[in-house]
């Protein structure tokens, strides 16, 4: 389980990084950020990149900032940066809660938020957050920069909208209204394992009913997504069991879950239904 040989590049600026990437991408070049997903696949020789462009030395990519109502997460910001809330209130708290489910403590010291998005594992907590909470993702290449909406970014299992010469430099979230409530739950076989399913819920209350409801499900399908039919069951309803169960039932009806050797579609669907309700209950409590 030793990785195949590769050429190592360690640019110190984004400009150099994208220039190098443009050069080596056609020749099986890849970005190395936290490496916590890439390096194991290299150890199994499932990935055999011929070039790795290590972005860990690029200082500006370590930037985590909150300004003008936007949370900006640079490409080298580690999961551990969220161990304590990065801002007060529900949004900071929910990111901390989600971070606690990513692998294990040492993995979180090294793995990065943006790396999780670029990896696009269906069970990624951050991918679920990006999709459910409308992140905008900045990609940079020698051709210039562009911004991709969270919902459009993930195209399938381990597949994103990034072109091979593009570096994901930053993810941004517009800060939700301060009174937004959040709930997140996931179920995995053991502590730290990839979740078999997960649910992220948020809503605001206005006149005793829910508004701006969002309900995202991850780990169940080939990519996380918001379940619009479930959100429709929530908006305009008072928070509570009838609405939550109706939304959870909509999740079960709408999902087309993945199957694998140990997990049937039926089980994943039941699980997602249960987790959707629990996430909503958690948001309401």
């Amino acid at each position: 389980m030793k990785p195949a040989a590769f050429q190592y590049h360690n640019p110190l600026t984004v400009e150099d990084a994208v220039a190098t990437l443009a050069e080596v991408a056609p020749d099986q070049g890849r970005i190395l950020a936290g490496g916590q997903s890439l390096v194991p696949t290299m150890a199994f020789r499932l990935a055999t990149p011929e070039h790795l462009v290590d972005i860990n030395g690029i200082e500006e990519l370590g930037r985590l900032a909150i300004e003008d109502g936007v949370l900006s997460i640079g490409a080298c910001v580690r999961h551990a940066a969220f161990h304590r809330p990065v801002l007060e209130g529900g949004f900071g708290a929910i990111l901390t809660r989600m971070a606690g489910h990513i692998g294990h403590y040492p993995i979180r010291q090294r793995g990065t938020f943006c790396g999780s998005l670029a990896q696009a594992d269906p069970s990624s907590e951050w991918c679920l957050a990006a999709v459910t909470l409308d992140a905008s993702i900045t990609a940079q290449s020698t051709r210039g920069g562009r911004t991709i909406a969270g919902a459009d970014f993930i195209e399938g299992i381990m597949t994103t909208a990034l072109d091979e010469d593009e570096l994901l430099v930053e993810t941004r979230f517009a800060l939700p209204a301060a009174d937004t409530r959040f709930g997140f739950v996931e179920f995995s076989r053991r502590a730290g394992d990839f979740a078999l399913a997960m649910a992220l819920a948020s809503f605001r209350l206005s006149g005793g009913v829910m508004i701006e409801a969002r309900l995202g499900i991850g780990g169940a399908e080939d990519r996380p997504r918001r379940i619009g039919e479930a959100e429709a069951e929530l908006n305009g309803q008072p928070p509570g069991t009838p609405a939550f169960e109706a939304a959870a039932a909509a999740v079960a009806a709408e999902l087309d879950p993945m199957e694998d050797a140990g997990t049937s579609a039926q089980y994943r669907r039941e699980l997602a239904q249960c987790l959707a309700r629990r996430a909503l209950e958690s948001a309401a409590s």
Binding site: A5, Y8, V39, Y105, P106, Q109, G192
Partner: protein
């Protein structure tokens, strides 16, 4: 294809000038190039935690980092825990609470625990157990490891 790099790894305060392929993991370099075999390799895919070392003060899996990425970083391994014959409180606690049997996972657990306690000295019991779930042990059933780390945490806090 070879991509050789000359670099210096700083392990427990000592410099090791080595030449490695870019693909050589930090775990392999620490063991084979620097001769520090206390860091063990149990899975090489980042799950078991036997290879846990401290990198600039935080615990990481040394099988998931390339040696070439670690120049200039402070690496701490199990060999650096004791000061001369004076064992680290965690080491003493592991002996006292029978927190090891075969001892293969022990260096990884020690470095994980050192990293946790240095960064989270006031950690609550439930959180400690959760963080200790990072590494695998196949002999002890964990209870004594948790006990040993808890006891050492209390000792370290009181000593502060």
């Amino acid at each position: 294809m070879t991509d050789k790099h000359d670099l210096t790894l700083t392990i427990n305060g000592f410099d090791h000038a080595i030449t490695v392929d870019a693909r050589r993991t930090l775990a392999d370099a620490i063991r084979d190039q620097c001769g520090q075999t206390g860091t063990h390799i149990g899975c090489e895919h980042g799950v078991c935690g036997s290879c846990t070392v401290l990198l600039d003060g935080v615990p990481v899996r040394s099988c998931l980092i390339f040696a070439v990425q670690c120049e200039g970083l402070a690496i701490r391994t199990v060999e650096g825990l004791a000061e001369g014959d004076e064992l680290h409180p965690l080491q003493r606690s592991f002996i006292k609470h029978h927190a090891l049997q075969c001892g293969f996972c022990t260096p990884g657990f020690l470095m994980l625990a050192v990293g946790i306690l240095e960064n989270e000295p006031n950690i609550a019991d439930a959180d400690l157990r959760e963080l200790l779930s990072s590494n695998l042990c196949r002999c002890t059933g964990y209870a004594n490891i948790v006990k040993a780390v808890r006891a050492a945490a209390d000792e370290l806090r009181e000593g502060r």
